[in-house]
Amino acid sequence: MQKLGDFKLPHFFNYPPYFTLQPVRDTREKQVQLWKDLILDYCRTQKIFVIGLEEEDFALFSNPVIERSLSHEARAAFLSALVSEGRAEWLDKGHRKCLILWHRVQDWADIIFRFVKDNGLEDSVMTVEEIRSGIESRGTELHGIDRTILMRALRVLEQKGKLAIFKGTSADDEGVKFSM
């Protein structure tokens, strides 16, 4: 079984036709499904939050072993399929960068909620940076989370009245006051 780092690649990754967009609808649906699962799986295990659309941006876009790589059209098709399912979002109008949501924003919000409860931080104040890289979040899924996703999840909680976000003097010292 071929591996990428410590990631076990599925069999279809070594089967050349999966690197060409299939013209027949049923076959293409199956193909897109396999790729979507693979991309989410890989990003989750490798903690990748943003992927660019260029071939060299993402390890899965080509397989040197069988000398195949995905065309631009195929790369866009697979990512668009993720976007339409709410598992990814384009970060720019030109569709060059894509935010991968292996947890949906709502799920990230739940993870933050549990993190706060587990650490007894119900009434405390933390900076956004602390949540991403502080001691408390070490070893949890929140450690190293993409800032964009984190802010979106925090806003979900803010709307529910679980916390308040306040601005510091610059972007990197935004703070959060939990009130759960």
Partner: protein, 248 residues
């Protein structure tokens, strides 16, 4: 001296006929009795054999296949009914019915990938992976189970393409052209239009037409990624190691 017609003559003739009939019936009865006796002996011998080798029949695919062969030679079908003494003795009916169900499941699970045509060998491997209680399953067993599935009229069929056997679980009719392409594809797992034309001496229209049908049926996948720029048609049903189901 000619016998004259008369009541005595008629009675003598009737008595003679009766005598003949009685003798004939007697002979037939003796024959049937002997036959019955032989059959009973044969049956008890076969039962004894089956009882003695029950474990071998259940566990050993080679033995099982030879047992079937023997039964076929003497005109017994141990799978004909689940009620007979075979079933009670061996549970062999259940064995094949279970196998049949698992074959259907695998065919359905892999259908999106291979278009409903699966290599018998691969089917066997997948079956063995699934059967947790490790009774080995041979290709011969698969074929028997599939032949039982025909009763369902669901279109399960085994087709021979070149040296390989493929199990078809969709009602697609493959014509001779399609079979020849599949046979050609066995060498590398794929073909190109050029190759089909050259090896089978077809016109380009004929090759493209047949390949398009196979594509539409979900039996083929295109691959435009090779350096030489020639489109390859891959056939998951003849390539091993391409099956996503094997991952799990």
């Amino acid at each position: 001296m000619r016998r004259r017609p008369g009541i005595g003559g008629l009675q003598t003739a009737a008595a003679a006929r009766d005598q003949y009939r009685l003798v004939g019936e007697n002979v037939a009865k003796i024959r049937t009795d002997m036959m019955k006796e032989q059959l009973a002996t044969f049956r008890s011998q076969l039962e004894e054999f089956a009882r003695k080798h029950k474990n071998d029949i259940r566990k050993n695919p080679a033995f099982r296949s030879q047992f079937h062969e023997m039964c076929a030679k003497v005109g017994v079908d141990p799978l004909a009914s689940n009620k007979g003494f075979w079933a009670e003795l061996l549970g062999i009916g259940d064995f094949y019915y279970e196998l049949g169900v698992q074959i259907v499941e695998i065919c359905l699970a892999t259908r999106p990938h291979n278009g409903g045509l699966i290599n018998l060998q691969e089917l066997c491997i997948l079956l063995c992976q699934r059967k947790s209680d490790r009774e080995a399953v041979s290709e011969d067993d698969c074929l028997r189970a599939i032949s039982k599935l025909k009763v369902l009229g669901s279109g399960f069929e085994v087709i021979s393409v070149g040296k390989k056997k493929l199990v078809r679980s969709v009602p697609t009719e493959l014509n001779k052209d399609h079979n020849e392409i599949l046979e050609l594809a066995q060498a590398q797992g794929y073909v190109t239009v050029e190759e089909v034309e050259r090896r089978l001496s077809w016109t380009s229209g004929r090759a493209i037409d047949a390949l398009d049908t196979l594509l539409d049926e979900g039996l083929a996948m295109i691959d435009d990624g090779h350096r030489d720029g020639k489109r390859r048609y891959w056939f998951p049903c003849v390539s091993s190691n391409s099956n996503p189901v094997a991952d799990t």
